[in-house]
């Protein structure tokens, strides 16, 4: 029975990963599709492929942070992790209905925290890991913002010295392929690892792997990357009009700068083992690039909603997950 439950919760975690790819595919391909560098299907396949191969380049530091540095390992159980996942999924659905650009990554962290507190109180939380995540909730979009702004200033300075705008435009249309690929790599690396971390936590809770493990089993790595890649493949079809066009109107040049900046932040945080929101990171970069012309070029009402999502997601998903855990505890 325990094994059936374990595989069921692993399936839910992979579904969460699939939905993550489904929702966030547009972040990688919006500008490529909007500027007609690639047709939608080719762009989606391009992003999904780079989501998948991220495991060849990045380690599993983010996964070990999720498994070891949020909740005390002695408290971990299938019920707790299931409640955390349900909390995150419910929060994502509710915010999607309300139109809040919530981060599934933060919802996952909040869900784990809420379920752990419901089970064993605040002592079950690993303060150090949570502090790192909390600080980078703010830092990752800010780094994206200043990098995006700096990069666009440098690029505009170089471009304005050239006298062939058509050639410049063509160059940036090609460069977009690489920046979209880099962002998809970063997305695959950081977000797929969160699911790996959840599955690793499940395996630790069930004694299938030892608690001090630093290497994630290969089947976990491959299944997480496959799930997010498939999510991107299916989701990108439907969602093309997103941050790239909603937050501020991006041209090939600004698209390259925003995606490259966000990709850098995701590479850095993945290497350091810090789970961050890919949506908030690309949002920061898009705001930075947009504010190069003038601050009013940024649609601040959407940026304000992102900030509200920052503030509300972790406590919101924690409360939902805590309630789910208590309900489960009553019936089991």
């Amino acid at each position: 029975m325990s094994d059936v439950l374990l595989w069921f919760v692993i399936a839910v975690a992979l579904l969460f990963d699939f939905v993550n790819g489904f929702h966030e595919a547009a972040n990688s391909i919006a500008t490529v599709v909007a500027t007609r560098v690639l047709p939608p299907f080719a762009a989606v396949v391009w992003a999904a492929a780079f989501n998948f191969i991220a495991f060849l380049i990045f380690g599993t530091e983010v996964a070990t942070t999720i498994a070891n540095d949020i909740v005390d390992q002695d408290v971990l159980s299938i019920g707790l992790i299931f409640a955390g996942l349900v909390g995150a999924i419910v929060w994502n659905v509710v915010t999607a209905i309300l139109g809040l650009p919530s981060s599934s990554s933060h919802a996952l962290v909040g869900g784990m925290v809420g379920a752990a507190v419901a089970k064993a109180g605040f002592d079950a939380i690993v303060g150090e890991g949570l502090r790192q995540i909390g600080v980078f909730i703010v830092y990752s979009p800010l780094i994206g913002l200043v990098l995006g702004l700096t990069l666009i200033i440098i690029v505009m300075w170089i471009v304005h010295r050239r006298r062939h705008p058509h050639r410049v435009n063509r160059t940036f249309r090609v460069l977009q392929l690489f920046s979209a690929a880099a962002f998809s790599l970063g997305h695959g690396a950081n977000d797929a690892q969160k699911t790996m971390g959840i599955i690793l936590a499940l395996l630790i809770a069930e004694g299938k792997v030892s608690g001090d493990v630093s290497e994630v089993p290969l089947w976990v790595v491959l299944s997480a990357h496959t799930a997010i890649g498939l999510g991107t493949l299916f989701g990108g079809w439907r969602i093309v009009r997103t941050m790239g066009t909603r937050l501020t109107r991006l041209q090939p040049m600004s698209g390259v700068c925003a995606e490259s900046s966000a990709a850098f932040v995701l590479f850095f945080t993945s290497a350091k083992g810090i789970p961050v929101s890919t949506t908030h990171t690309i949002t920061g970069a898009v705001v930075g690039v947009g504010s190069a012309s003038r601050l009013s070029a940024v649609r601040w009402n959407i940026a304000r909603r992102v900030v509200w999502a920052w503030v509300l997601t972790i406590p919101g998903s924690a409360i939902v997950a805590g309630c789910v855990y208590w309900i489960l505890a009553v019936f089991t």
């Binding site: 790192q132 909390g134 600080v135 830092y139 800010l142 200043v146 702004l149 009013s296």
Partner: protein
């Protein structure tokens, strides 16, 4: 006919960047020891961009 941007006496972009620098600095003591430099670098970077933004506005208004 194009709509004219309202004239602002303060460079709002510079203020925004300075606020970002302040937030980055405030978070430095909370950051893990091995990542404290991120907040410091970010604060300095935001300040430099804020100064650049203000100089840009000043030069446009005085040219």
């Amino acid at each position: 006919m194009s709509r004219r941007e309202p004239r602002h006496w303060v460079d709002r972009r510079a203020v925004f960047l300075l606020c970002s620098a302040l937030v980055s600095l405030v978070l430095v003591p909370v950051a893990p020891d091995d990542l404290e430099y991120v907040g410091v670098v970010l604060a300095v970077w935001c300040t430099v961009l804020a100064i650049g933004s203000w100089l840009d506005k000043w030069s446009r208004e005085h040219s």
